[in-house]
């Protein structure tokens, strides 16, 4: 931008010091010039998309090779859908995601309402408790869930996966819904009671309709997260059926297989569609704000 106009600065001063992580600082002046940055961005996007493009592309490869694209074919998708165990895994993943979505949304929304509208001595502790799963490393989550189920003599199955998924999804719902709820003025709820609606009716007829975009967006987010989850599922899964990511893990251990490309592409489509819906649906319901803003909790246009 204005690099050409800059006054002659003392050039001898090297960038001393380091940033927070102790890393060497960025390369010199050329860094800021858009031309260099543009090139950097190009390389970056290449680095980012090439692996995925590869997976998608080769999912349609007619041969097993990962080096030559020998023709367009959907055989790997056929293999995917025709293999019973893979089909079962897909169905299992969808079932888990669906149930998790419903229950986590209900529990998370209720929790959000309680945290915002109730004043209790345990409110702040509950708030911290609710946030903890978000910062708990997945491996800790998985190991502890496994231990719990073993202790209570609950056999590992789809149910245990669902229980674990719900536990770690509630926080997402609460955070998203709470941001929306805080923006909702109390006076609207008071007006409702003033006009003769009981507290329960107010919640049903006034609060929930206003919260709806946030609840929906959170639910779809939970769906996508659950469908994609690996570590938690890995620790809490039974023998069969296993959710798709767990099956993928098993397949990958055997080496590179073309079917995985097909599965990966398919899962990508599902995730993109879910998140896409999460961003678009609130808009379709007549709200002016984009789903992204709802998810991030920002009010207004």
């Amino acid at each position: 931008m204005s690099t050409v106009e800059s006054r002659p600065t003392a050039p001898a001063r090297p960038p001393a010091g380091a940033d927070a992580e102790g890393a060497p600082l960025k390369p010199p002046k050329a860094f800021d010039r858009p031309r260099f940055l543009k090139f950097f961005m190009g390389v970056f996007f290449l680095f980012l998309f090439v692996p995925i493009a590869l997976v998608v592309l080769f999912s349609f490869n007619s041969s097993r090779s990962l080096q030559d694209f020998q023709g367009f074919s959907t055989r790997w998708y056929q293999t995917f859908f025709e293999t019973e165990s893979l089909r079962d895994s897909l169905v299992a993943s969808l079932q888990i995601a669906l149930v998790t979505m419903v229950i986590a949304t209900i529990l998370g929304t209720m929790l959000a309402y309680g945290l915002v509208r109730a004043r209790t001595r345990v409110s702040s502790s509950l708030n911290v408790l609710m946030l903890l799963p978000l910062v708990t490393p997945e491996i800790v989550a998985g190991a502890s869930a496994l231990l719990l189920f073993t202790q209570v003599k609950l056999d590992l199955s789809l149910t245990t996966i669902i229980l674990a998924h719900i536990t770690f999804s509630i926080s997402y719902v609460t955070v998203v819904v709470r941001a929306r709820l805080v923006a909702l003025s109390r006076e609207v709820e008071e007006a409702s009671m003033d006009l003769g609606a009981t507290r329960w009716q107010t919640f049903r007829l006034v609060t929930l309709p206003a919260l709806w975009p946030a609840v929906l967006a959170a639910g779809l987010l939970v769906f996508a997260l659950s469908f994609d989850d690996f570590v938690l599922s890995f620790f809490t899964t039974g023998e069969s059926p296993q959710p798709l990511p767990v099956r993928i893990w098993a397949e990958i251990r055997f080496g590179v297989r073309p079917t995985i490309n097909a599965i990966g592409t398919f899962m990508l489509v599902i995730s993109v569609v879910s998140i896409g819906l999460a961003l678009l649906l609130p808009r379709l319901f007549g709200k002016r704000e984009s789903g992204l803003k709802v998810l991030l909790g920002r009010e207004g246009a």
């Binding site: 800059s6 002659p8 080096q67 309680g114 209790t120 502890s144 229980l163 590179v256 899962m267």
Partner: protein, 277 residues
């Protein structure tokens, strides 16, 4: 108060669920970490410190150090790549800002396993790169592959907070900085970087936390020399069936990460206080 009672009732289901399915398991893990495995392979609760002593065994210390090292390397690389990307989009993105950020985020909708697998497809002995270049370079089963896998897995978590911080910054500050400091480099050092430090810290934490406990990257992209604590934990609970030791590893990992989290929270709170002062 009537209103309070009504709203408080809403807290109950979620709170009970969290206590039973989140807190209780962690308590179990903590308790088990002081236990041992008997001759029959059963995990017994006890009050022994054996598992913790094992942590400092020369066999395991390298694993712990390596995990931290790989994670740190991943953070640094993510920062070196992520900051410029965030900077470009925030400052030079213009109307394309949202599209660019969406493009950055899009790949991360692909399942983590698949994304890592893609690198196997690319860098494997029979992979694309070796095919195109007609060589047989050993890319995988190296620490670089693992770190690369971690970077590729969590890069978005670094970019987004930094982008948010840059986007929130008043552009006139940069202009003023250019006037004051002359060179763009000085401006960056004295104006831009301090203002986005919270974003940098957040991004670093969001990469560091999952990277330390990760076992997918090391498993798929690394060899026996690249075992991380995540792999170790996974082995204890599945292959080796030594749950008490696994529990101790888990507790140690969690405690280690909690320190960083607290440090970050304290810094974020201080920043919030200064912003309103």
């Amino acid at each position: 108060m009537n209103e309070n009672r009504f709203a408080s009732a809403f807290l109950v289901p979620g709170a009970v669920w969290m206590l039973l399915l989140f807190v209780a398991p962690l308590v179990f893990i903590l308790a088990l970490s002081f236990g041992y495995t008997d001759d029959l392979g059963e995990a017994i609760y006890s009050t022994r410190l054996d598992n913790y002593e094992r942590l400092v065994d020369p066999a395991y210390v390298p694993v712990l150090l390596r995990s931290v090292g790989f994670a740190l390397a991943a953070v640094v690389i993510c920062l070196l790549i992520g900051y410029p990307v965030a900077y470009y989009i925030a400052i030079f993105g213009g109307r394309w800002k949202n599209v660019l950020i969406a493009l950055v985020v899009l790949p991360f909708f692909v399942n983590y396993l698949i994304r890592t697998y893609a690198w196997i497809a690319l860098l494997g002995d029979d992979g694309m790169v070796n095919g195109v270049l007609d060589t047989s370079v050993r890319f995988l089963n190296t620490p670089y592959a693992v770190i690369g896998g971690l970077v590729y897995g969590f890069l978005a978590f670094m970019i987004l907070p930094i982008y948010a911080a840059l986007d929130r910054m008043d552009p006139s500050l940069i202009e003023a900085g250019k006037d004051l400091y002359g060179g763009p480099w000085q401006t960056f050092r004295h104006v831009t970087l301090p203002h986005t430090m919270q974003g940098v810290l957040a991004g670093s934490l969001l990469v560091f936390l999952p990277a330390v406990g990760d076992f997918v990257a090391a498993s798929l992209l690394g060899g026996p020399e690249e075992v991380m604590v995540g792999n170790l934990i996974q082995q204890q609970f599945q292959a080796s069936d030594n749950w008490p030791f696994g529990a101790a590893l888990t507790v140690a990992t969690m405690a280690f990460l909690l320190i960083f989290m607290l440090f970050y929270l304290r810094s974020a709170a201080r920043e919030a206080r200064e912003a309103t002062a």
